[in-house]
Structure formats: C-alpha cells, structure tokens
C-alpha cells in the first residue's frame, strides 16, 4: 500500500489515469472536504460581502466578525426537526436533495486543479461535466414535484425550463472553446479538461483572448448562462423569494434544505471551474508567456504565501481594532488566533516557494508547483464567486418570459454565430 502511495508521487498524470485507486480516493476526499469548506467559507463571505454592499455589517455575533456563523448555522440546521409534508411523495422527497448533491459533487472528478491535480482526466471531461451538472436539475424538479404544493411545483417548472434553455447556449459556447483546442499541428482537439488547459498553454493564450473578440463573446455567454444554470440572481426565479416564497425548496427544512444549499454552492464552484478551465487558462498563472523565466516564476510563486499573509494582516488589523473591553476578550483572542493561523499558513507557503527556488529538492519543487497550480485555479474561481455575490446585490430579478426570450432569442443566436465564425476563422488561420 505504501508502495502504491509512493509510486504515484513521481507521476505527472492524474491518479485516475495512472490507475492508482488509493491516490484517487485521497484526491476525492481532499476535493470533497475542500469543496465543503469552500461552500462554508462562501456562505460566510456572501453574507458578509452582501451586507457591506448594503450598508450593513452582516453576521457579527458568532465569533469575531461572525467567522463562526457558518458553523452555528450548520449546527442549527442539523438539529432542526426533519419535516416531511404528510401529502408529499416520501421517497422522491427524500431522494431529491441527494440527487442534486450527487450531481454537483460528481462533477469535481474532472476539474483540473493542475496538470495532475485532478481525480481523473476523462477524455470526454467537459461533456461529462456538462452532462452531470445538468442532472442537478432532476433534483430540483423532483423536489418541487414531491412537495405536493403549488409554489414548489411552479419553482421546479421554472427552473427546469430555465436550465434546459440555457444549457443550449452554454453548450454552444463551450463548443466554440473546444474548437480552439484543435488549432495545433495534428488538427485534433480534445474534450479533456486537462487537455483544454494544456492547449491554451501550448498556444500561449487564454481562450478568452483568442481570436478577439470571439473568445470573449463566447466567454460572456457562458458566464451569463452559468448564472442561469445555477439559479442565482438575477436568474433566481426558481427560488424567487418575493414570488414563490422559496421556490422548489419551500417545503424543505433542516438538513435536507442545507443539502440543497450545499448543492447550489457546489454547482456554482463547478460551473466557475469550467469557465476558468475553458477560457481563463485553468491553472496557468497570469502572463505566463509574457513574463516567463525563472525569476518571474519565482515572483509569481510567492503569491499564495503573500495572499495568506495579506488575509492575516486584515485579521491582525481587526484584532487591534477590537474594543478593549473584557466582554470582547474572547473574541479578540479568537481573532488573534485566526490571524496567527493565517500567517502561519502564509509563512509555510512562502517557505515552500523560497525553498523550491533555493534548494534542489525535487519533492519541494513539485509541491511548490502543485500549490501554485491549485492557487491560481482557486483564485480565478474566487473571482467568479465574488461576481455571483455582486450580481445578487446589484440586479433585480428577471421575469420568466424575459428570461426565456433572452435565452432563446439573444444568447442562442449569438452563441451559434460565434461558433460558426470561430470555425471559419479557425480554418483560415489553422
């Protein structure tokens, strides 16, 4: 077993490809916990950021600056009574959140955090992601129907119609990105997620800027469609609070409801990672072609550590500005400890980066590389996550028929046009 563990370490392919089930399992666990933690962090961040958009403070009571609020929420949700409406279809009601969760987590199998930092590299990676994430709507539809209540049913109908319509535009935008992968000597493209990022690496350009503005248009279409696909504002009609109370999960509460939330946020991260991999160069660092060379590599490899140090600085500033009062002592200590942990992580990451540069240690260099890859991928996703919050704070909600007409009459023709033009330009250039 140890052998099997060690034998993979030198490998440069994903554990799935290497056939190393043990490592694949470890990756699955890492990704599962990582995504769960990200969802929790996102929960806190969304409440905080939204609050600051809206001249409020957001959670402030549970832990310093409400840092422990997600945990308190989770405990509350776990302890809540599990209510199944008496007229509901019990089996479907029970299985619906699981399907949603399953669909949004399965997608992470092929998310390429790095050239070898994925559970598996399927050669139909992007197809798999789109397909499986489209299964998520089944959970919503089943939940809405099984609740045996009018608002959830309408919510489910809305979201299913919405997701099916936007999937078309989304798929066409994706195809135009995939077309770009075939612009190489052999003329064969790839559907593999890792392959798509590597194609960008080889062509020295993010597909966002490829054939400008074609790539950008496709990207924008995808970015809009992915908001609709995840039922977020301004396309959150399925759970439009002011119209349908809570839409498809009106009848859900406690743990089951939290599973829906988990699935929703996991799906948000998943679609963002598609966008990152397809248009934003995946794990590639910014300006990897312009600012190439060992020195630049080193500068950019400092970023992960510096990010954590920056967060630590914010936390330290918060600690200093805490009111000097005995009531705040525990909070001050907690925030200080949080700052200490953050700066510890930051220093560790800096140490790895510096060590990899200075020493000749293969393992250190390899892990520094892996860290950089994951860091840039995650940072790009974080941008999207922030955008999701920003949209929510800024825009009113679309109406259903407007949503449909935007999907079918604007997005679909544009994405078709972009696809055709990309193909023509590709033929001329390639």
């Amino acid at each position: 077993m140890l052998n099997s563990l060690m034998s993979y370490l030198g490998s440069s392919v994903t554990p799935g490809e290497a056939g190393n089930q043990l490592w694949a399992l470890i990756y699955v666990l890492i990704i599962f916990t990582g995504v769960s933690v990200a969802v929790i962090a996102m929960n806190w961040l969304e409440r905080k950021a939204l609050a600051h958009f809206q001249v409020r403070l957001g959670p402030m009571r549970v832990g310093p600056h409400g840092l422990l609020q997600p945990i308190a929420d989770a405990v509350k949700l776990l302890l809540k009574e599990d209510i199944i409406p008496s007229e509901a279809d019990k089996f479907v009601f029970w299985i619906a959140p699981l399907i949603g969760l399953l669909a949004s987590f399965t997608v992470y199998t092929v998310v390429p955090f790095g050239p070898s930092q994925a559970v598996s590299d399927m050669n139909i990676g992007i197809l798999f992601m789109l397909g499986v994430s489209s299964l998520g709507v089944l959970g919503i539809v089943m939940a809405g129907w099984a609740s045996n209540s009018h608002y959830p049913l309408i919510g489910a109908l809305r979201s299913s119609a919405q997701m099916v319509s936007y999937e078309v535009a989304m798929g066409l935008a994706v195809v135009s990105a995939i077309l770009m992968t075939s612009l190489n000597q052999t003329g064969t493209g790839t559907l593999s997620m890792i392959g798509i990022v590597q194609a960008q690496q080889e062509q020295h350009v993010w597909f966002l800027f490829k054939f400008f503005p074609l790539g950008a248009i496709a990207f924008v279409i995808f970015a809009i469609a992915m908001v609709a696909e995840t039922n977020r504002a301004p396309f959150d009609l399925a759970e439009a609070e002011s119209e349908l109370t809570a839409g498809f999960h009106t009848e859900y509460s406690g743990l089951r409801w939290s599973l829906f939330m988990l699935a929703e946020y996991a799906a948000m991260i998943a679609v963002s990672s598609i966008a990152v991999a397809l248009w934003l160069g995946g794990w590639m660092r910014p300006f990897s072609h312009w600012l190439s060379g060992g020195a630049w590599d080193f500068v950019f490899s400092l970023f992960p550590g510096l990010t954590f140090l920056g967060l630590a600085a914010i936390a330290i500033r918060g600690t200093i500005r805490m009111p000097k009062h005995s009531l705040f002592r525990i909070q001050t200590i907690g925030l200080g400890a949080f700052a200490a942990v953050l700066s510890g992580i930051g220093l560790l990451l800096l140490g790895i980066a510096v060590g990899a540069r200075a020493g000749d240690h293969v393992a250190l260099a390899r892990s520094a590389d892996a860290l950089n890859n994951v860091y840039w991928f995650v940072m790009k996703i974080a941008v999207f996550m922030y955008m999701f919050i920003w949209y929510r704070a800024t825009w009113p909600r679309y109406r259903f028929d407007q949503l449909m007409s935007v999907g079918w009459k604007v997005m679909l023709p544009i994405s078709l046009g972009v696809l055709i033009v990309t193909a023509i330009v590709g033929v001329i250039v390639g």
């Binding site: 939204l50 504002a233 002011s242 109370t245 800024t394 009113p396 909600r397 109406r399």
Partner: protein, 388 residues
C-alpha cells in the same frame, strides 16, 4: 368612458374558482393562494390567483385580516382620544393620517390652525411622504428582486424618523398633531436638522435612481407592467401616484389646497403610460418635490402660537363634514358626523390603499405571477389601512 367603466366592472366580477372536470392529459388551471403569509404581499393580504401556467387569468383579494374596527372605536372615543388611533392605519405615513384627522375635526369645529402650526405640519407631513415613498421603493425593489435599494432607503429613512423622534418622541406612530395645531414646539435646531436632512437626502435619491432607473432588468420588469389607463383609474377611484402615473394631473394639495400648501411652489409629476415604471418615476419625482416644499417651508417658517383656541372638551356642533388630504398613497378622507356630543357619531375613513387595491385585478390580468408581485408593490398598499 362608459365602455371602459363597463370593462373594469366586468373585470371585477367574481372569479369562477371551480375547475371543471378536465379531459385526460390536459393541463389544469392552477388556483394559487398567495398570502396571507407571503413575503411579497406587504402584510396580510391574501390574493387568490387563477393561473394558466404562469399567466394570471384572474385574482380575488381576500382582506380583513388586520381589521380592528377603527370606525367603531371612533364612535366610542372622544375626538381627542381617537387621535392616536388614526396613526395605526397607514403606519408608514402616520403623520399624514394625523393631519387629515386633525384638520377634519378642526373643520367641524370651524377653527383654523395658526400659521406656524401649519408650517410645522407641512414640514412633518412632507418628511413623512418621503419616508413612506422610501419604504415603498425599498420593498418594491425587493419584490422585483433588487435587494440593495431596500437597505439604502431604510438607512435614509432612519434620518427622518430621528427627526420625528426628536420632535414628538415617537418614530412610527407619531401622534404629532393635536386638534387645533401642534402640541409641541419645535426643538432647538429643528430647522437646521431639517435643512441638513434635505441636503443629505438629495444625492441619496439620485443614488436610488442610479441603481434602478436605467437598469435594463428593472426597465424590462416594470415597463408595460400593470398598465392602467386614466379612464380606468378614475372609474376605479384610484388616487395618488397611481392616478398621476396614468397621466391625470390631480393632487389634492393643488386642487383643493389644505393647510398652507397653496403658499408653496411645487409641481405635480405625472406619468404617461400608467405602468409600473411610470409610477416609480412619479414617486421618485414626488420625493424631490416634497424636498422642495420642505426647503421653502423651513425658510419661511414664522414665529407665533402653535395652537388655535380650541376648547378643552371638544364638542363640535351637530353636522357632518368630509375632509381629505393627499396622503402618500392617495386621497385620505375623513367623513365625520357629529351629533353635538364629545364623541363622533360616525367616523368614516376613506382609505386610499383600500380603494387602490381594487385596481389590482384589472392591472394583473394576462400578466405573469412575477408581475402580480410587482403590481402589488407598485400600488403601495398598507394593510393596516386597507383593513382598518
């Protein structure tokens, strides 16, 4: 005109709520119950929607959940004792309610409030109109899905409530006026604070508009939604910004001036299409006009008494009077019958929200469920006033 009235009448006839037996594999007409517990019905309004898919075929409002028998209470209280009760009707515009009531009783007594009292009344009432419109804007935008304006408007409304609190000790149900004038003299720095507020809130109104007025989604959600023609609006007795957005330039402050509104220079903003967007614009413009009135009033506020000579025990001569004012929501009228005793023999409140709500049905027919929410929001109803 007759034809339109007839249409409106037909539209208001009862819904056929029984669904006939449908053939196999046919989609049903959906009867949806919206409220009384629903986030977007602004209280305890219950609307029964008859839907075809998401299209509204008809609505029926079920109201009365907040009925407290205000008119019956009035018959059992003296004129003075009843004064605080009116604040509880339209609780977001309590000052307007109080103004209407006090003036109606003053009219019955045939007394006039002194000029200084009138100025204070106008300042507070217009502040309250802004507060009411701000609350409307926030909740209306929230109904349409824009969360953020709600917090902006509440932040700024807070400043108005602070002025109220300093003036009379209460923030919401102010009971600011007494029959014959005002009970309280303004506090030191009242004029300065009001001026500061005007300077503070002017850019804030621009800020709300920045978020919404040219927002594509906002335009699509509000333009041509809940259209009501001027003829229908008049036939349905709709008043206030809803009527003005349909193009009828009618404001009681101008048409039948009360207090000292005739001394101020302001405009009546009107709309053209009578849709939700026009109502939005009209209310935004009204806030600015209110600021204009406040600015003039604060500049010109005279010295002098704040109470007219009113007997300690108010006993109007037998007779009846109808007095109405332009409340933020429309025409707020009081019809008081006096039998010469200390208590009103009959007091009838003509609530703007109640009458405006009646227009909901013809405004939403043929629209989608999401529009029902938008239209309820744009009517700016307060259930405390609808149900009384």
């Amino acid at each position: 005109m007759t034809a339109e009235t007839k249409n409106a009448t037909n539209a208001l006839s009862n819904l056929d709520l029984e669904t006939p037996e449908k053939p196999y594999l046919d989609s049903n007409e959906l009867i949806i119950n919206m409220g009384p517990q629903h986030p977007a019905t602004h209280g305890v309004l219950r609307v029964i929607l008859k839907l075809d898919g998401e299209k509204v075929l008809g609505t029926e409002c079920v109201i009365g959940y907040l009925h407290r028998g205000v008119e019956k209470i009035a018959e059992n209280r003296t004129y003075t004792m009843f004064n605080p009760y009116v604040d509880r009707m339209d609780y977001v515009a309590a000052v307007s309610n109080g103004l209407g009531y006090c003036q109606a009783v003053e009219k019955l007594l045939n007394v006039e409030a002194p000029p200084r009292a009138n100025y204070i009344r106008v300042i507070l009432t217009e502040l309250n109109r802004i507060a009411s419109h701000q609350l409307w804007l926030g909740t209306h935008a929230l109904d349409i899905g824009a969360m953020t304006p709600l917090f902006y408007t509440f932040r700024d409304r807070e400043e108005i409530l602070k002025i109220f609190e300093k003036y009379c000790g209460a923030r919401l149900t102010t009971h600011a006026f007494r029959i014959g004038g005002c009970q309280y003299e303004t506090y030191a720095g009242f004029e300065r604070e009001v001026k500061e507020f005007v300077a503070f809130v002017k850019p804030k109104i621009d800020e709300y508009e920045e978020l919404l007025t040219t927002n594509r989604i906002w335009l699509e959600r509000t333009k041509n939604v809940g259209v009501i023609s001027a003829e229908d609006a008049i036939a349905l007795g709709v008043t206030g910004p809803v009527l003005r957005a349909s193009g009828v330039k009618w404001d009681i402050r101008k048409a039948l001036p009360y207090a000292n509104y005739s001394e101020f220079d302001f405009e009546i903003p009107i709309g053209e299409n009578g849709d939700t967007y026009d109502r939005y614009l009209v209310r935004m413009a009204e806030m600015r006009q209110s600021l204009r009135i406040i600015e003039q009033a604060v500049e010109r506020i005279p010295e002098g008494p704040i109470m007219a000579k009113v007997p300690k025990v108010i006993k109007p001569a037998a007779g009846e009077i109808y007095h109405s004012i332009e409340a933020p929501k429309g025409e707020l009228g009081y019809f008081i019958v006096s039998d010469g005793s200390t208590q009103p023999y009959r007091l009838r409140v003509r609530p703007p929200s109640f009458v405006n709500l009646q227009a909901l049905d013809i405004m939403v027919r043929g629209l989608l469920v999401a529009d029902v929410v938008a239209v309820i929001g744009t009517l700016d109803i307060v259930l405390g006033e609808v149900d009384r």
